[in-house]
Symmetry: C2
Subunit: 361 residues, 2 copies
């Protein structure tokens, strides 16, 4: 258990960061993120915000904090992942990533330097370097070349970071990103490289892209064994509640994932007893709240018959109830983890919790 | 200014009732309806709730109050209007309205008696009789025949109401509905008929269906001139803030309309200075809140550039912010009206307010 101090507040780790793609965590207000969700830091997506509303609007709004009226920490990614997952046409060269907008087909270029500049404008407390995220599976030669490109970009990105300044008076951190596909020697080399660059924290990238879960855990551990323990270690894009516990056991401090909010909108929530499909007809005549002992509105205030009805009818309030519940659950789980770490009971507690989390209602 | 006392609380009139079609006011939580919107009563749609989740689920949930976890008054319509506006195939005879569900094509029959039974199960504080709502324009013969059918149905509905009881221990009221198209003599005859039936309140139906606004006001006044002043007079499906003021000047006590929430989801809000299209590009670079003197989150907490961005990006939070704002504005306006009535300044105040409400930002 540790902490990371930013000019917008202290982040206690291990922590989960709700994803606010376009300057809003889908279906959830900033007020609710503070209470009852107790989010300590949220994530914004550089690719999305750069295209909509654009950096000019955000700069004139006082950065992403001013734009969203959010005074707690924000982490922004570099956009690299979205270029590869969302834009149809993109080419990669030494200079950077050329891509067409998924919205209007307009042409853009992200370089290791300009993603620093863009994140200076966004004003995030933690910015990420531009990386290439290779698909799974990738052959060794591809993974190695890709990793080496990410390393060259990392040096350029760090240089740009050190030569530029924050625009709004608060301090910004820059995190490196480890790549290397699913090859141990590449993962070790990449972690050693990133550890040498003097970033304020380091992310493990390129995982949770379709590889089997045991391989995700194995590669994570290969990385955390090498990465310096005094710096925050952030596993990008992971995952289920059980994935989080297993990764924390392997040394990870920070997570982000769209799963809690995206699944919620589709009617799936996470609970202490596993995943629950709210659209399942078993809830149609269940006239009691789900779990009066869990402090979310969904669990306490409404009969399951009502929640089921809202989700089946695609009502906005159903999506909000489920999204708030899932985020509240993820943040509650991280708090439990921190307490168990503090009391030195994490190692004995978490395997039981993983079993429980992977059962079904 | 008056009041209507139900077992779920007192309703101060004039009042606007937010529409909760499927057991939820779209995009707004029950908690927010109470504060900061200060809704005193909400509306549920019998047609929609009968089809989804169905009366069995709602009865087992303890009625609509239990199902929604809403302890303030509820009014339910009779489903008549939805049958004519939503279901593709419907035939009308003396018995009732035969219709096919707009969801799955299944066949159903609403009669003056069974809409009472259904609303007993919903457990609304105020239920409405089954009526036929003729389209605009309708010729005199059609409007007269339709009105006479509604009158015969009204007698059957009242009889059923008096012969049945509430299922949940709280008192229910039944309101009649005046019809008569846009013909003065029919409107007068229908109002006189409904006034004689001893309903607890009377609605003006069949308006706001496409007729010119001056005709809406004229027919409303023809009705309120006849209807007993000691009973609540409810103008169904109306309307803009200016429509409300003009109708209150003509004696109306209660209103419902989907306009504040539906328009909000499309990006239009109502303010003291008129309608505002939040999707208009003029807001893209407007880096200040809209109106720090109006106590909605949309007006106070967020720059217009942010609200514009949310609505343009179809973000759920944008729809919620705008829906909450519009309802808060409608309920604020009704409170202003009640204070002006109390201070005997309504007649001099409202024409200026109407002018202001019909201007544009």
């Amino acid at each position: 258990m540790g902490s990371l101090t930013t000019d917008h507040g202290v982040i206690e780790t291990p922590i989960f960061m709700p994803v606010g793609t376009l300057g809003t965590v889908k279906g959830v207000s900033q007020d609710r993120l503070k209470d009852p969700i107790f989010a300590q830091i949220i994530l914004g997506n550089t690719y999305h915000l750069y295209l909509r509303p654009g950096t000019e609007v955000i700069q004139d709004s006082g950065g992403l904090h001013g734009f969203m009226n959010w005074d707690r920490p924000i982490l922004t990614d570099s956009g690299g992942y979205q270029i590869f997952s969302l834009s149809d046409i993109r080419t990669l060269d030494e200079e950077g990533a050329h891509f067409k907008s998924h919205l209007d087909g307009s042409k853009h270029l992200f370089t290791p330097e300009n993603v620093v500049d863009i994140q200076r404008i966004l004003g995030s407390d933690i910015m990420m370097i531009l990386d290439e995220c290779p698909p799974y599976p990738s052959d060794y030669a591809y993974a190695k070349n890709s990793m080496e490109l990410t390393h060259r970009w990392a040096k350029r990105g760090r240089k740009q970071f050190l030569e530029t300044q924050t625009l709004y008076g608060h301090r910004q951190f820059q995190f490196g990103i480890v790549q290397g596909g699913t090859y141990k020697d590449l993962r070790i080399a990449s972690a050693e490289f990133m550890a040498e660059q003097n970033f304020e924290g380091i992310a493990i990238g390129g995982l949770s892209v379709g590889e089997p879960i045991p391989l995700l855990y194995e590669m994570t551990e290969v990385n955390t064994d090498v990465l310096p323990k005094e710096k925050a270690r952030y596993l990008m894009g992971v995952g289920t509640p059980a994935n989080l516990l297993e990764s924390i056991a392997r040394g990870v401090d920070m997570f982000d994932c769209v799963m809690p909010t995206r699944n919620a909108r589709n009617g799936t929530i996470f609970t202490r007893e596993g995943k629950v499909n709210l659209r399942n007809s078993k809830w149609k005549n269940h006239h009691a709240p789900l779990d009066p002992d869990f402090p979310s509105d969904l669990c306490q205030k409404y009969q399951m018959s009502y929640v089921h009805h809202l989700l089946k009818s695609n009502e906005l309030f159903g999506m909000t109830l489920a999204s708030e519940h899932n985020l509240q659950f993820y943040l509650w789980l991280m708090k439990e983890v921190r307490e168990h770490i503090k009391n030195d009971t994490f190692a004995s507690w978490y395997p039981h919790m993983v079993t429980q989390l992977e059962s079904k209602f």
